[in-house]
Subunit: 98 residues, 4 copies
């Protein structure tokens, strides 16, 4: 329970779950469009929309993570702060480059 | 039926459906990770992987579309070729910028 | 001379050169900002702007390329059309994934 | 002078300046390729390489910024930490979405 608290996104958990439910629905919709052989350009439009929605969730989670986990580690100081920062930077790089 | 043929991705349809099924599963997995309040960085890693998988599907569909729909329109000539090309370029721009 | 014609972007060459001149200036400006140790966030804003400007040029060149080189190859038919298409798809993939 | 110190990237300044010099050279090279009407796909390859180089610089600066400016603000606490964080998140979003 206490373990949960420091993962940071707990305050917005319901909002994230709702967004991810919608994302799952979008993925299912794209599957159906291909199955029904809908027009390729329309499918690509839906994929771009899904990609944007995913990026929105990722940026939100990252902001929460920096604001809780990384900031807390910074306040506690020591090696953990460096490690958290390194980890966050690697996650940002994956997002920018993917 | 004949309508399907010119949508171009019919040859690989099963492969696309399998990839999209997996993408749907990845989206569901991310939902579960948030629900279980797993570590934020691990969730971000999964989101980057899902984003890459989506881009892979989009690039495949686009390649098929250019190779069938756009090339056919080019061979038929006239205003349709220009229109198909404009449409494809707009889809590429959405992908690059999203 | 005739060689130039099929490279496709000749009609807008001056526009591209002007945009690329501006891009070069933006790169030089970012160098100066780092040299003067300006605020990091302001530098990042300029880098994002430069990235967008580059993508704009790339999307323009790609559209020209598809509309001339690829379409012409499609009309001529044969193996060259396939090759041009493969090449264009690979360039699109590099743009989307970079 | 002391103002410079807290901008964080001072330790690697020479490295950044060298990378940005190279980026400026890449931009100039792309201008020349268009001027000489080189093959479009080759120009696109160079643009993708330049985009990647820019992202590398941006990710480096961001990492430095988080590790100095944001972490310092976190340690000092108060409204400044929130503000720095909000600013960094907005810069990350611009990078991911551009």
């Amino acid at each position: 329970m206490t373990d949960h608290a420091h993962h940071g996104y707990i305050t917005d958990k319901d909002k994230y779950l709702a967004r991810l439910k919608r994302i799952e629905g979008q993925a299912r919709g794209i599957h159906r469009m291909v199955d029904e052989e809908q027009y390729c350009i329309d499918i690509l439009t839906q994929i771009s929309a899904l990609k944007s929605a995913l990026e929105g969730v990722a940026l939100g989670l990252l902001d929460d993570h920096l604001g809780h986990c990384v900031i807390d580690a910074a306040r506690n100081g020591g090696a953990e702060a460096d490690e958290k920062l390194k980890e966050a930077s690697a996650a940002i790089a994956r997002l920018v480059r993917s």
